[in-house]
Amino acid sequence: MRGPGFLEQLEQALPGAVSGSRLDALDPWIEVAPERLVDVCRWLREKSEVRFDALECITAIDWFEPDPKKAAKVTWQPHTELVYHLWSTASRVSIVLKVKLPRWKGDVPGQLPEVGSVSGVWRGANWHEREVYDLSGVMFTGHPDLRRILCPEDWEGYPLRKDYEQPIEYHGIRGR
């Protein structure tokens, strides 16, 4: 499954969905276009030779350097990266999906970037997506119940973003 045949099948079934891959990495990964993510996930779960029937984890990585001196040295453009870890119970193999999103939708601060929800593919994705929304501020379109999960519902900001600033005060509790 980690051979090139797998990628070709995916490319054949969903042309243009894969925008990059490294199958020889520590954890083999493929990069998927954000608008095709749900299709790719459905294909991986239902159609591919290796059925990825479990979604283990969704992680959002904020690629942003708040310090201007350090930011001048980095080689990447600021963006948010979603990482999906999938697992196949029958074949006991894993695959990693990566999706690149802008930090803000249309580069307007405050407008959360959007990506399709995979909670219709794996029901277990529901809570994982709520957590990513809560802590990293990614909007999952089509999610049945997108609310904050770990932070209180009236919390402001997205703590796992690199430019997050802890509130000075929350309901009379001093934060800093």
Partner: protein, 402 residues
């Protein structure tokens, strides 16, 4: 499913329909294992909907991890699953070692197996005892804690702490075992082995316990997999998966040469069936009783593994090796590793930009996924079954909220 008979409370309750009511359970409810809040929508005694509210213990450990070096984050992993802190340390250490492509010494490998399996016994003892509490019996809790104390004593002697150990660390372990430790450990195992029969008579075969757990909260293997359930919760549904055997090579290599059979029902039998009480006729694969029973089997399995580890560790004369520097630089890249912790598969994900401080750390909690399935299991059950179902998932809030 067990046959519903006319005097079954579920039948009677369905006849007397009343108004729906929202009942709040927790966050300080004793049977919710920490600070879990459940909002139940009930019609009489029947629960139509359960909504877990979590986050009361949230301290954003992942954000803290972005401000510390990889080794400095070890104490924070202790506080995730604080009932199996050794296994949490191991999970994070292995994930970092995977990215560093670091190999620990043979002696450290066997010592890690020894310690991790002792941690598993301790965690399952709490799970078992607390499950008895959830169902209204107090004595098994005391029996379980009596034995757990002895494990904590051993851990204290090895690393100085009783709960948050930080013993296993990146590159090995912080110290070798003190002299005489192995003998004490063997004494404990010899003494502990017959005690397991007591647990079986107190809980496993107890008629009231079986009535409270058999055919309650039945989870199909498909449902368990779709929700990403793992550990005893997954194996209790008959899915043959254990990361110690099926995981990535850096983790399974630890168990190379160890003989153990995954505790899962295959063809209607658990491994080494004869030594255990028979499965009650009411029990259905995937119910609370099976999840509990898998944990009991794993206690025995871990005892076996500890004995094997003691032999291998004492036969191994090489050096233990030193842990990596606190400020060791981690190569740029990312690595994800899942290990089989007592509660399920705990995953750690690490993204590094080449400095000593990780760019992003992520903890995939097994209890988080296991708890997410509650609303499916509790639909249509009685209020009294809710603690039975939640207890059978054996969750730890420190790990869910992180």
């Amino acid at each position: 499913m067990a046959q519903l008979i006319d005097d079954d409370p579920r039948i009677i309750e369905f006849d007397v329909r009343t108004d729906e009511m929202l009942v709040n359970m927790g966050p300080q409810h004793p049977s919710t294992h920490g600070v879990l809040r459940l909002v139940l929508r009930t019609d009489g005694e029947i629960v139509s909907e359960v909504e877990p509210h979590i986050g009361y213990l949230h301290r954003c450990a992942e954000k803290i991890g972005e401000n510390l070096t990889a080794r400095q984050w070890i104490p924070y992993t202790d506080r995730m699953d604080y009932l199996a802190a050794m296994n949490m340390n191991l999970g994070w250490s292995l994930a970092v070692e995977k990215l560093m492509q670091y190999q620990v010494s043979e002696r450290a490998r066997h010592l890690r197996v020894l310690i991790a399996e002792m941690g598993r016994i301790a965690s399952h003892l709490v799970g078992m005892g607390a499950y008895g509490l959830d169902l209204g019996t107090f004595s098994p809790f005391l029996y379980a804690f009596r034995e757990r104390e002895k494990i904590l004593d051993l851990f204290e002697e090895a690393c100085g702490a009783r709960l948050t150990y930080s013993y296993i660390t990146v590159g090995g372990l912080t110290a070798d075992l003190p002299p005489g430790w192995l003998r004490k450990c063997e004494e404990f195992l010899d003494q502990f082995e017959p005690v397991i029969q007591e647990y079986h008579s107190l809980l496993t075969t107890n008629a009231i316990f079986v009535k409270r757990t058999a055919a309650i909260g039945v989870m199909s293997p498909e449902l368990a997999i779709e929700y990403g359930c793992s550990g005893p919760v997954l194996r209790g549904s008959g899915v043959d998966q254990d990361m110690r055997r099926d995981g990535e090579s850096i983790y399974t290599a630890m168990y190379d040469g160890y003989a153990f059979e995954v505790a899962v029902m295959k063809n209607g039998h658990y491994p080494r069936d004869h030594a255990y009480p028979p499965v009650p006729t009411d029990a259905v694969l995937g119910d609370c009783w099976h999840r509990f029973f898998v944990r009991m089997l794993e206690v025995v399995q871990s005892m076996d593994l500890v004995r094997q580890a003691i032999d291998r560790y004492s036969a191994c004369k090489g050096p233990l090796g030193e842990p990596v520097k606190l400020t060791e630089k981690i190569p740029a890249g990312d690595a994800y590793l899942e290990t089989e912790c007592p509660k399920g598969q705990m995953g750690f994900y690490l993204v590094s930009d080449g400095s000593a401080i990780p760019w992003r750390v992520r903890a995939r909690s097994s209890s988080f996924s296991n708890l997410a399935v509650t609303h499916e299991l509790c639909r249509g059950c009685l209020i009294a079954d809710v603690p039975a179902i939640v207890g059978s998932l054996d969750i730890v809030m420190g790990e869910i909220d992180r």
